[in-house]
């Protein structure tokens, strides 16, 4: 019985099957009601499945919710972070460099003013003359020699040496020398601190520059009182 009905739905009834099928419908009530039941079932399933498809289509009409797919955003976030940090670095960098050029000037020769009269020049005179005339390589060499022979002038000579290093864009060496000075004595404190802060500035280390300037601002003896405050202000 069910075989025939199944064949009907499969659409595989042969001609003889069809005759048999018609006969059963007319003569067998159970067959007829079973067939009608399955017909009804088919209709209900069709409507059910169609509704299922239709409701899935209706999703296409809904306004698109922008999904924040975090994983998709990662590369963009990475690029953004990179640019932002580069911007910070360059901004900071250009800022400190600008400030450095604005504030840095070589410490003038106040130790041995150039005298035209004297024919016989001491090494010290020669060194400072070279310094004043801008022959920094020679001056540096002279200072080096002077330092070993003249312990008492060591601190001030170091300051001039640091100046030359700063001028020749070697702030690291300047820092070493100036730090050494600060550890050894309290003399020339304001010059030491001032040029140390500028050396940090040149390196782009505005934090250390600020720290040094803060120390300097507490000094009563400060040859760059005004500049210390205005530079501190600019670094904030």
């Amino acid at each position: 019985m069910n075989e025939l009905i199944a064949k009907y739905f499969e659409n595989t009834l042969s001609d003889t099957d069809k005759v048999l099928f018609e006969k059963q419908i007319l003569e067998d009530d159970t067959f007829k009601s079973e067939f009608e039941f399955q017909k009804e079932l088919q209709k209900s399933i069709q409507v059910s499945e169609r509704q299922k498809i239709k409701s899935s289509l209706q999703q296409f009409e809904k306004p698109k919710v922008i999904m924040f797919n975090l994983k998709r955003l990662y590369p963009y976030v990475a690029i953004l972070v990179l640019f932002f940090s580069l911007w910070i670095i360059f901004k900071n960098d250009s800022n400190t460099q600008d400030l450095y050029t604005e504030y840095f000037s070589m410490y003038p020769n106040v130790v041995e003013p150039i005298s035209r009269s004297s024919n016989e020049k001491s090494l010290k005179q020669e060194a400072f003359e070279n310094y004043e005339l801008g022959n920094y390589n020679k001056a540096l060499f002279d200072f080096e020699v002077l330092k070993t022979s003249n312990e008492s002038d060591r601190d001030i000579i170091n300051i001039y040496k640091a100046n030359i290093y700063l001028y020749s864009k070697n702030p690291e060496k300047a820092i070493i020398i100036l730090k050494e000075n600060l550890e050894e004595s309290n003399e020339w404190m304001d010059k030491n601190l001032w040029y140390l802060s500028l050396a940090y500035l040149k390196l782009g280390n505005s934090k250390k520059a600020k720290e040094t300037l803060l120390l300097l601002s507490k000094e009563t003896n400060n040859f760059k009182k005004q500049e210390t405050l205005s530079l501190l202000n600019s670094l904030k």
Binding site: A6, F9, Q38, E40, L41, K43, S44, R50, K54
Partner: protein, 201 residues
């Protein structure tokens, strides 16, 4: 993985470059496997052409949208039934033919037009096509509810047999049944379960 990749490439090509015609057979296969992006692209692609036709008959937009969605449902149904396997025209042409038929059916129901007087391509199985619960009698409505409450396996078998009109041999292959008898008895168990639910009500 390979077939997945091929699928993906085809869909991308179809979706992003309408001028490159993806083989219609592939679209049919993708719709058959219920591939959502393909269905969506067909849906979006033909919406405007359909609305132009519907607007020509002054059909309100909400009604037109409803008819359009019914047309897509009919398309998917016919694809799943394998009626579209030897399609001569493109999917889009076929869909718009269904759409036109549906529009005329609607106009006829509203007595705006005599369908018989208009020459329109008849599409098999669409005369009695309905998505609405209203087309069902009370017992059918109960059957529909009962069907929806069945377990997944029963639903699969009954869907394949009564909706997609698959032969038992095919269903046996699709659902990996060892032999046809196991499938047959499973199917009759599902049906008697349905009958039981109906009787209880």
């Amino acid at each position: 993985l390979k077939s997945k990749l091929v699928k993906l490439i085809f869909v991308k090509v179809y979706f992003y470059s309408p001028k490159i015609l993806m083989s219609e057979k592939h679209i049919v296969e993708l719709i058959k496997s219920n591939h959502d992006p393909t269905i969506q692209s067909v849906y979006l692609k033909n919406k405007l052409p359909f609305f132009k036709i519907a607007n020509g008959y002054k059909i309100p937009n909400e009604v037109a949208l409803d008819i359009y969605q019914d047309s897509i449902v009919a398309l998917i149904e016919n694809v799943r039934k394998g009626k579209v396997d030897d399609l001569k025209s493109s999917i889009n042409t076929y869909l718009l033919a269904i759409g036109k038929f549906m529009i005329f059916k609607y106009l006829k129901s509203k007595k705006y037009v005599d369908l018989d007087s208009v020459k329109i391509e008849n599409i098999e199985g669409l005369d009695a096509f309905s998505v609405e619960n209203e087309s069902l009698n009370l017992r059918e409505l109960m059957l529909k509810k009962a069907y929806e409450s069945l377990g997944e396996q029963c639903k699969k078998i009954l869907n394949l047999f009564y909706f997609e009109n698959k032969k038992l041999d095919d269903i046996q292959a699709i659902l990996n049944y060892e032999n046809k008898d196991v499938l047959k008895s499973q199917k009759s168990r599902c049906i008697s379960h349905l009958k039981k639910i109906i009787k209880e009500k």
